[in-house]
Amino acid sequence: MGEKIILRLLFLTAFMALLWSCRSEDLFPQESPAGSTENISAAKYASRSLWKEDEVYIDKVQQVFLKHTNLERFGITYGELHWDYAMSFGQFGEKYVLVPIVKENKVVLLMEAVREGSKVYFYEKRNEDLLDFFQHVMYSKIIKLDEQISTPENISAKALIYVCSTRTLEVGCDGEPGCVPYVKSVTSCGFQQGGSPPKGLDPSGDPNWGSGGGGEDDGYEYPDPLELSPCDKAVVNNLKAKQLLNDTKINAAEIQLTGTLSTDTNEKSFSFGKDANGNYNTTPIKTSTLGNQVGVIVTSNTLTIEGGAHTHTVDLYNCFSTGDIYSLQGANVANPKFKTFFAFADGGVAYALTITDPVKYAAFVAAYSAGGNLDMATSGWKTNSPIYFDFENVKKQFMYSGFSDDDAFANATALVLNKYNTGATLSQRDASGNFNSIFVNETTININVAGVFIPISTYSQTTNCNLN
């Protein structure tokens, strides 16, 4: 009897659970965005976006906003901020977000919050496509979604580092006859400078407020910006490297520099930086006169130098030499903005050596001085440097695996940069102009040979960042 009751109860529970699970068959069930009487703009942020967002940033931006807002006046002037639906559109690292502002269940405006250094700026964004997109995200039945991240092809010199996110959603039908699902797609590339300045948005709700984005151009204090990891910095550096070489002036200098590279017998170089108007320009091209080693200009009266580029003639390895590794660190000491170094080789080959941590870079050079480790005559590692055999071991194994001398050399360089925690990293340009980091893993295993354990290292390329 007791067993029957228990069985019946179990069936009943299962049936109730079934009913509960059938209450909605939406792929992404939407709950009412404004189901509470409390002020939505002040509600604690908990993401309800359908995509991955920079939640740390959104949370911090909300704190900044609430510190400076007059919620009542803001509500009358603009509407209610729905933080839960805020989207960073593929931007991470606490720098960008769009927050929908809603009046009577309609997304009427977006608040764009942009961080620059320790300040955050608020702007109005009235883009009909984006407004429509947010409207669907918040109030429609979404049955399918997608996101594609890309780097823009043509980036102006003034543009910030960013990626573009194309988000697509499909709105389903509620069983209406003849209804065709509706697909909506938008692309956002984060904050874009240039053109007419964006209209600032005042957290206090003053509609006649200026266009500077927060106390005119002052912005609002942002709490403790997140320090990027070395791997994040490598990604940012690679995007920046691409942007730099896509810049009109720098690109023209690269073309001029490499035009006769296949027959050149001397290295050439130029440096690049921003002029007084914030536009990139380059220094005149220098050609080596002695020993085929060209210097690079580190500071300039007319440009704020950010980096340099030089060629490797056809008799030299394509990748950076040991001397180049020390040169970049020296340049960075003389000019902390000097963080990017390019090496161009025949056939359109380009490598970038960039700095992820200047302090580590300086510590490396202090621990492994140029005097003790760099062979000035050959620009390679001294044979008595502890780095020499590490470098050669990697090169040997990659050559044995069938890599070209140039690729084996580049992989050996990448291993050394990481293994010795230099704070600098290596990447190579692909056919699309993207710079891809070169990471090499070292795995050491002990093999038992007749009772004696012998360590064997194997080196392998990996796309997974292994920077410390």
């Binding site: 008799d315 030299l316 390679g380 470098f391 050669e392 050491t444 040979v449 360590p455």
Partner: protein, 133 residues
């Protein structure tokens, strides 16, 4: 019986360890006495190395020029053991060898030090000797 096997394994192990150390010390003697070999063909050194001969030969980059082989690293172990702390006899050449010549032998014999390598490198003049592990 078990004890005998254990003793045998230990003896074998120690003898291999001893052999490793012996190789290093043996080669170090040639580094110490490098004056006898500098400015002479490598064959002089190879002929004096009666106890052991290189198993593999690797080009040393030794700088940024890729058209030359300024030095050659000789290893004395099987190829799989040559990529970590392998005992290395590094010979710097008086005249760097054109890279296409060293590459020819690498591609032909897969980095192994055969009689062909012995003949080829044997005629090259030694500039310096470094033994390391």
């Amino acid at each position: 019986m078990k004890n005998k096997i254990l003793t045998l394994i230990l003896l074998l192990g120690f003898s291999i360890m001893y052999a490793q150390l012996d190789t290093l010390n043996y080669l170090k003697q040639f580094e110490v006495n490098k004056a006898n070999y500098i400015n002479k063909p490598l064959s002089v050194l190879l002929n004096d190395m009666t106890q052991i001969q290189p198993k593999t030969a690797w080009p040393s980059s030794h700088g940024r020029k890729k058209t030359i082989t300024p030095g050659t690293m000789f290893n004395f172990c099987e190829i799989d053991f040559s990529f970590h702390s392998a005992i290395t006899l590094l010979i710097e050449w008086q005249d760097p060898i054109p890279r296409d010549q060293t590459k020819y032998y690498e591609q032909k014999n897969g980095f192994y030090f055969t009689n062909e390598e012995r003949s080829f490198y044997g005629t090259k003049i030694v500039k310096d000797i470094l033994v390391s592990r």
